[in-house]
Subunit: 132 residues, 2 copies
DNA sequence: CGGCATCCGCCAAGATACTG
DNA sequence: CAGTATCTTGGCGGATGCCG
């Protein structure tokens, strides 16, 4: 009797591939994974196109770093660089088609941050306050 | 003569606040700004709740780092930690209401990365190939 | 299984100054 | 105005091992 005791059944199929979790996110991180890249993209999309303007917009950073990150965004063809050969030099950045596909994500990140700012700030404040 | 030479007019209104650019994005970066946080959130939302599972899911990282980032996500109340006091110990993470509000952003980041992977990879490959 | 302590290397990002 | 060169740093994340 009970000749057919089903051994503690394992799940029929072990997921081989740990889910394509990393993939997509890793790719996106490759593009947006610079401290100021999201800000740069958002600013450019708002018509702030020139390096000096961008630096004024993000004074917390430096020309150098902004340049680096702009160059990377350009390398991945998220933005295009237009150089006016004149004196003084003039440069403009513009979103590419591909870069525009990022905008709704960036806008949502921005909105989310705005909505949650009070909450997040309160946590940060309490954290430092605890160090008294 | 020329008594009324209007001095080089400045723009009527200088933007005092460099646009609330940083704000929203900076807040969001405060939350998602860890190498594995997006992956962790996404995984948890998919029902991968236990530390060991999560580590299996993201074997590129280490227990330590994952723990750190989980702790931060918990601190900001994006996830909740449920501890079962038993032996061997058991722990489960779950998204909070607030954490769930991040999911559509994360899913979009994931999708975007998937869609653009071929393109991005090709650029990365050509880059390293250029070093021959 | 889950968590923490220790040690360490690296690199992104800041500071500064100079050129065209 | 735009861009680059040089130097420095902080801290994040990786590697390992021990403990309850």
């Amino acid at each position: 009797m009970h000749t057919f005791v089903p051994k503690t059944k394992k799940k029929m199929y072990e997921k081989k591939i740990p889910l394509p979790l990393e993939c997509g996110l890793a790719m996106t991180r490759e593009i947006l994974g610079g401290k100021w890249k999201p800000n740069l993209l958002l600013a450019i999309s708002l018509g702030i196109n020139r390096p000096s303007q961008l630096h004024r917009e993000i004074p917390q950073s430096t020309k150098r770093v902004l340049n680096l990150q702009l160059k990377e965004l350009e390398e991945f063809e998220m933005i295009e660089k237009k150089i006016y050969h004149q004196l003084p030099p003039k440069v403009e950045y513009h979103l590419t088609k591909r870069g525009e596909t990022l905008m709704h994500i960036l806008r949502q990140m921005n909105e989310w941050g705005d909505k949650n700012r009070p909450f997040i700030k309160s946590i940060i404040l309490n954290r430092t306050k605890a160090l008294d």
